[in-house]
Point group: C2
Chain length 367, copies 2
């Protein structure tokens, strides 16, 4: 293998694929970046076997070939090359010679054949949507994924495509976040559970514009391509929880509140509540006021937030983290908070429409 | 105590003094911020007994008084108050009531008398210099302070004022950094060893302009005031190492090199050298070239950097960290590198003038 390419192109490609580098030391070759020179291109691939990222750059290929360099050192080294032409060539001893200006360095490589092959054969199932909508779906659900390895399926977000809409759902046993958006094209109704890490990497891949993104899927693999970068990921396998069953449709207390005001108030309350093992805030809803109440050995807060309410008064307690995490990302000025009782789930929705839904379980307290 | 003040003023003052909050749990009251309402001012003080920061804000004082609030919770809470008037009042149960808009919170306090008194009586010893010069002195020396508790005196920077100049010196047993600047006023020749943490906080206190800063000192205390914030710090006591003895004045090999080029080259070399316990780079200086050489199990680098040299060829090895840390902050385009032998200290100076000096000990290697 022997190629010449632009240092900046190389550095950019290494940065992009590095996100998929394996972090566990189980298999050292997974800490490597696969390099393949063919035609007039250099292809770089990194994988941790779950997530694979591939990027191709233009190169002058003097000799085709393949090798695997240690990702960490190669990426740090390449970053420090100024914007110059870089020549990469592989010696018979499996050393990668890196030439730039008058200098030359060498890096130990792994044998190319040890690198796992990636299978890009995915079915023709796909859906297409605005990149901005995809980002919104991820942003409004990913924080509710479980962090817990005991139920791996909950470490992903369910994407359901039906009726030209996509519904994204994440839940962790304490709360459920759901968001909806239109798709501009799709091959058929479909479902997939996408790992939260993969979603984070797809979002990183996207542009800051209104262009579309196409997600291709089969039973256990997802593929996305944007700007010459290909991302492949395993899907989570198994049955997702039947989330529709969890969401109540009728409520006894319905409250309309300014999201920013409520958010600021709960943030303050959680400062003083945080000393306890879990930080509890109470909502005492009565007479068109929602009192945000917290009490701990540090101090106590009692803030009335004006609301429009219908139905019965209610006093309910939450883990403040579950409230603030949602309110921080909620973009609406006003939200509708729906309740049934101090021990029933609370549901937060837009005042109109069904673009999102957030359900959070209360904490039982002594009245 | 009962006062009304501006929420933003309060939040800014809390942020400033918080830098001096104690972090060790030895004495809980040191995790507190002392509040004192008197005249038409609210004074806030935090101290870890070594470093004390005090800030005064304008307030409408309805009742004078003092108390101590838990710094962490108070600062987080105050940050989350929107730009409104805040009323602080102390109850008989030593609770601080915080009123804002229609809401009210309470925070547990420490008795004011438990808070250590700060002594602002410092002698009339002082020096005055440009804030930008002070920042430069700190920036060019502080990284060479020892991190090691076994020789506490080396965790500070020596400031020597003599002949209307200040010389700042830090050393850790492996390298020595020295920087000089003019003072625009001073009471007498003097010396002080200022803890590196204090220097960091003084720099944070400074403005981004060319105005002067006055540092007042006595045998064991330093005081600086800027923009209504007063910083007091203990000085390190004891004799500093006689650093002048360490710095050689004659050299066998003298090299003039572009600092940025050398820096980039050593940065690259240290990527490949880093796998060893300490990361060694060699300088092989001959024929108007300085070869930057590194070798480890990961790979090897050999980069020729063009230099102007006088004197004997030399091959010398360094801990790459000690070279890169200095080159990163060096602002000159060209620097002079002076050497005697592979086992003698290397001295880096400006090509002309004596504004700074950096001395680094080599690592002994087998030729």
């Amino acid at each position: 293998m022997k190629i010449v390419c632009d240092g900046l192109d190389l550095s950019d490609a290494v940065l992009k694929v590095s996100k998929a580098l394996g972090v566990k030391k189980a298999n050292p070759v997974l800490e490597g970046i696969f390099l393949k020179a063919k035609g007039d291109e250099l292809t770089l691939v990194a994988t941790d076997t779950e997530l694979t990222i591939e990027k191709t750059v233009r190169a002058e290929v003097m000799m085709e070939g393949e090798t695997v360099v240690t990702g960490k050192y190669f990426s740090e080294f390449v970053k420090k090359l100024e914007n110059e032409q870089v020549e990469l060539s592989l010696t018979e001893e499996n050393l990668l010679k890196i030439k730039y200006s008058d200098s030359e360095s060498e890096m130990q490589c792994f044998p190319a054949e040890e690198f796992p092959k990636t299978d890009k054969k995915v079915d023709e199932n796909f859906f297409v949507m605005k990149q901005s909508d995809f980002k919104r779906l991820v942003n409004m659900t990913i924080f509710s994924c479980s962090q817990d390895d005991s139920r791996p399926i909950l470490k992903g977000v369910l994407f359901e495509i039906a009726n030209a809409r996509v519904t994204a759902v994440a839940l962790d046993g304490f709360r459920l976040a759901l968001a909806r958006a239109d798709v501009s094209g799709f091959s058929a109704d479909m479902k997939a559970i996408i790992p939260s890490r993969t979603l984070g990497e797809i979002v990183r891949l996207l542009d800051n514009d209104e262009s579309d993104i196409k997600i291709t899927l089969n039973k256990n693999t997802l593929m996305v391509e944007n700007g010459g970068t290909i991302l492949l990921s395993r899907l989570l396998e198994g049955e997702f929880i039947n989330y529709k069953q969890i969401i109540p449709s009728e409520f006894i207390t319905n409250v309309r509140v300014n999201a920013k005001t409520l958010s600021a108030s709960v943030e303050r309350a959680s400062v003083l509540a945080r000393t306890d093992r879990i930080s509890i805030v109470k909502f005492d809803i009565k007479e068109n006021l929602l009192f945000v109440i917290a009490k701990s050995e540090v101090g106590n807060v009692n803030e009335p937030v004006p609301v429009n309410m219908e139905g019965k008064d209610v006093l309910i307690a939450f883990n403040s983290k579950y409230i603030t995490e949602f309110l921080r990302i909620c973009e609406d000025e006003f939200i509708a908070v729906h309740l049934n009782s101090p021990i029933a789930p609370c549901v937060i929705k837009p005042v109109s429409g069904d673009n999102y839904l957030y359900l959070v379980l209360p904490v039982r307290i002594n009245a």
